[in-house]
């Protein structure tokens, strides 16, 4: 056999391409230009362009650090029990009959990604249908999560480039054509990347269609409270499905609405027909989690639980959350106004109609590349911009760039 540096068994491994979303920040960081703008990854920024840790989160964290009776023992496989109960109440409502009837199993997971992965692995093992329908377009990581878990991924029409709104008829037609029992991924609110959400009336129609065909809803709730500023309002789509007594899965993330991005805090809930089924389902979820990472990280979930269970801190949180949502809504208005003022060709009303952290500008890849090269503005090549990355100071730069892009690049 070879001596010294033997041939690696991994010598033929090719370098993977940069993740399209996270790669934007990598490129941004490399750019030496003093005037640059990162509108890539969806992380909230203040008016000063700085990351924000919520005051209530800081307080909760300090309380935990100062409490010398706290230890760092392993959490149970399903995570912090208190956190799980509070998360379920948050998304399903404090009076949810599903919770009162013990029909919900909630397990702490690593933010939205981890919740989706655990749910998908569970479905691949225990559900009779292994096809999941995801909206076109959707968050870039969705198909990867479902595919690696063993599900086969199909799409349903969602975004209409012509209207920059919802292709509702296309959505209904595609879900109607899906085989009975297929899984359907739904963005609970603030669709990523388009910011286009169904209206309540449209949600009701979607619900009826899905229940009539026995399609299984899998909600991704990454922006509760962040979209409209109201936690209850942003949970309406989920609650509508739960209140009809049917089953569903919900992946929750606290990355954005609590600003706890890097702590990886989230939860997967499975609403079942009966308490007995919920218990058995939970036991199987443990078998998915244990060989993945054994048990979830304690820090972030402890902070969230501290806040959710204290009514003062909870109220403080809702105020800070609404402030973030309001700032984003005002950025939308400012950008729209700036484009109007410049007489930028095209209809830009979608900027104020869309909701949540992102705007699907409608810019194409060439226009995006132009904006990066000439104006040092970084965004994903699908034309998605993170409104959270904008401030009153930087709106003019962006408006100039968009104006130049649509005027000179086709």
């Amino acid at each position: 056999m070879a001596s010294g540096h033997g041939d690696s068994v991994f010598a033929n491994v090719v370098r993977a391409p940069e993740d399209p979303i996270l790669g934007v920040t990598v490129a941004y960081n490399k750019d030496p230009s003093p005037k640059k703008l990162n509108l890539g990854v969806g992380a909230y920024r203040t008016e000063e362009g700085k990351p924000l840790v919520l005051n209530v989160v800081r307080r909760a964290e300090q309380m935990l650090v100062n409490d010398t009776s706290r230890v760092k023992e392993y959490l149970p496989i399903v995570g912090l029990a208190e956190f799980n109960k509070l998360s379920a109440k948050l998304i399903f409502g404090v009076d949810s009959p599903a919770i009162q009837e013990n029909r919900v199993t909630t397990v702490q997971c690593l933010s939205g990604t981890g919740s989706l992965r655990v749910g998908a692995e569970f479905l691949a093992r225990h559900y009779h249908e292994h096809t999941i329908y995801i909206p076109q377009p959707t968050w870039g990581n969705h198909p990867k999560v479902f595919t690696i878990a063993g599900l086969s991924v199909k799409t349903y029409r969602y975004y209409s480039p012509e209207t920059r709104g919802l292709d509702f008829q296309g959505l209904l037609d595609d879900l109607n054509a899906a085989p009975s029992g297929a899984i359907v991924l739904l963005h609970a609110c603030a669709h990523n990347p388009t910011g286009v959400d169904p209206t309540p009336e449209q949600w009701e129609q979607i619900r009826q269609l899905m229940r009539s065909k026995g399609l299984l809803p899998f909600f991704d709730s990454a922006y509760q409270g962040f979209a409209s500023g109201s936690l209850d309002e942003d949970a309406q789509s989920v609650r509508m499905f739960v209140s009809d007594g049917g089953e569903c899965l919900v992946a929750q993330s606290y990355a954005k609405n609590m600003g706890m991005y890097g702590e990886r805090v989230g939860a997967l809930s499975i609403v079942c027909k009966s308490a007995d089924v919920a218990v058995r389902v939970e036991s199987q979820l443990k078998l998915v989690i244990r060989p993945m990472y054994s048990n979830p990280p304690i820090h972030g979930a402890s902070i969230v639980a501290t806040i959710l269970k204290d009514s003062h801190m909870y109220d403080e949180w809702t105020v800070e959350l609404k402030a973030m949502a309001d700032r984003i809504i005002s950025m939308r208005q400012k950008l729209f106004d700036a484009l109007q003022a410049r007489g930028t060709p095209g209809d830009w009303s979608h900027i104020i109609k869309q909701i949540g952290m992102f705007t699907f500008t409608g810019l194409n890849a060439q226009q995006v590349a132009f904006m990066t090269k000439e104006y040092h503005i970084y965004m994903t090549s699908d034309g998605r911009i993170s409104m959270a990355g904008l401030s009153s100071q930087t709106v003019p730069l962006l408006a100039d760039a968009i104006h130049a892009a649509v005027s000179t690049v086709v």
């Binding site: 033997g6 990351p51 650090v65 023992e73 225990h126 229940r211 089953e247 706890m260 890097g262 499975i270």
Partner: protein, 420 residues
């Protein structure tokens, strides 16, 4: 019309119709054998109960410990930093410090940037990402796992869809290493097989190869071109000296092996619930390391996107500050010494009780666990009659043994084993 409305759920709740749950055929899963022990312990009201089940360190009062160096690190971190996403590969600073622990402060491999490494969700997460990487890039390979091993190892490679085989390791009669059979298995495995090795403080047996034996194993691995994957969950915790505990790895590296390694800070820094660890793969050159790292990240992305920041900050704060690192080394040695003392005490107590069996293995074995040799039936008696909780394979977590309970424990073990 009315029928259509009913079918479409416009009347009444879906739940009120006869459609039953999608999950009605889901079977209740078996309880995890290790974590289930602590659940049972917590539920027991007896004041005499002893938990020598799960491998989490306890002080001499039976209490969990947060290291002083960790408390200080947390004081520095809280309120000072933001909670932004880490990169997919985790905290670069933490990974760098962690590699130095495993590979040596002056490691050429680190200098030459030949190690592909990412922050992982403790040891479990490191093993899982490696298993998935192995599956994706060596799809025809299988993993050889020692008998016995930590039960979750089997689950990890199974869920990553990597076929498993076993190799001899523990010798029940001597309660030591079955070196001859282990070497036979290494020789008869097809060339280029993947092997899972415990770097130190084998879990659950506490039986480690000697330095000489490690050299022989490494040599045979070279002859066969096997891939060594080290699970190192107890560096520093076994002997009290991290450098000494990494000896097996260093021997393999000296011999030029391109190893894989899972490191955990759960035990040696007491960061159990923070889930901090590191997965590393030694590559032929820097270019390959860049490629391999990028692929490891591709496996992390659809699992959890990026790893949690808090635990990584604690580790990099402690290891990055010479004073805190010194304090940590002192505290790790303190934990290891207490466990070594508990082993001596347990053995002495059993010998004083006049047990006719040999209990030498209690002090021969190393690390957190002692493979007592007790049968499942004897373990059940310990639990039912004496409220002593351990896994049914007879594994005793020495960290759960204190000066306060060692006498009670020895007595109970003597009771259930004296007729054997």
């Amino acid at each position: 019309m009315a029928l259509r409305r009913i079918i479409l759920g416009q009347v009444g709740r879906v739940g009120e119709r006869s459609v039953s749950s999608w999950w009605r055929n889901v079977q209740p899963a078996a309880k995890d054998p290790i974590l289930g022990v602590t659940e049972a312990f917590l539920a027991d009201p007896s004041p005499d109960k002893v938990n020598v089940g799960v491998g989490a360190y306890r002080d001499d009062n039976g209490k969990p410990v947060v290291l002083e160096c960790v408390r200080e690190a947390e004081r520095r971190i809280a309120g000072n930093l933001n909670m932004e996403y880490l990169p997919m590969g985790g905290s670069a600073k933490m990974v760098e410090e962690t590699l130095r622990l495993a590979y040596g402060e002056n490691s050429d491999l680190i200098k030459d940037k030949r190690i592909a490494a990412i922050q992982s969700l403790s040891g479990t997460g490191a093993c899982r990402i490696f298993a998935e990487f192995q599956r994706r890039f060596c799809p025809d390979s299988q993993i050889y796992i020692p008998v016995p091993t930590w039960a979750n190892h089997h689950n990890v490679w199974r869920d990553a869809h990597v076929p498993q085989r076993t190799f001899h390791y523990y010798h029940p009669e001597s309660r030591g290493l079955d070196f001859a059979s282990m070497m036979d298995d290494i020789k008869s495995a097809p060339n280029g097989s993947f092997f899972l090795l415990h770097a130190c403080a084998h879990n659950p047996t506490g039986v480690d190869p000697s330095e000489e034996q490690w050299r022989e194993i490494s040599y045979q691995f070279k002859v066969k071109g096997h891939f060594p994957f080290f699970d190192m969950a107890y560096q520093g915790f076994a002997s009290g000296d991290p450098e000494r505990d990494a000896k097996s790895i260093r021997i393999f590296l000296e011999d030029g092996h391109l190893i894989g390694c899972a490191q955990s800070f759960a035990k040696n820094m007491g960061l159990y619930g923070q889930r901090v660890g590191c997965l590393s793969v030694v590559c032929g050159d820097e270019k390959e390391a860049v490629a391999v790292k990028s692929q490891l990240q591709q496996l992390a992305r659809p699992m959890y996107s990026n790893p949690p920041t808090h635990g990584a900050l604690i580790v990099s704060t402690v290891l990055g500050d010479p004073n805190l690192k010194k304090l940590w080394l002192k505290e790790v040695k303190g934990m290891a010494d207490r466990i070594i003392g508990a082993r001596i005490a347990l053995r002495q107590n059993l010998e004083k009780l006049g047990s006719s069996l040999s209990w030498k293995h209690i002090t021969n074995q190393i690390g957190m666990f002692c493979y007592s040799g007790l049968t499942p039936e004897q373990v059940d008696r310990l639990t039912n009659e004496f409220h002593i909780y351990m896994t049914r394979n007879g594994r005793i977590s020495m960290a759960g043994v204190t000066t306060g309970n060692v006498g009670y424990l020895a007595n109970a073990i003597h009771e259930v084993s004296k007729s054997a």
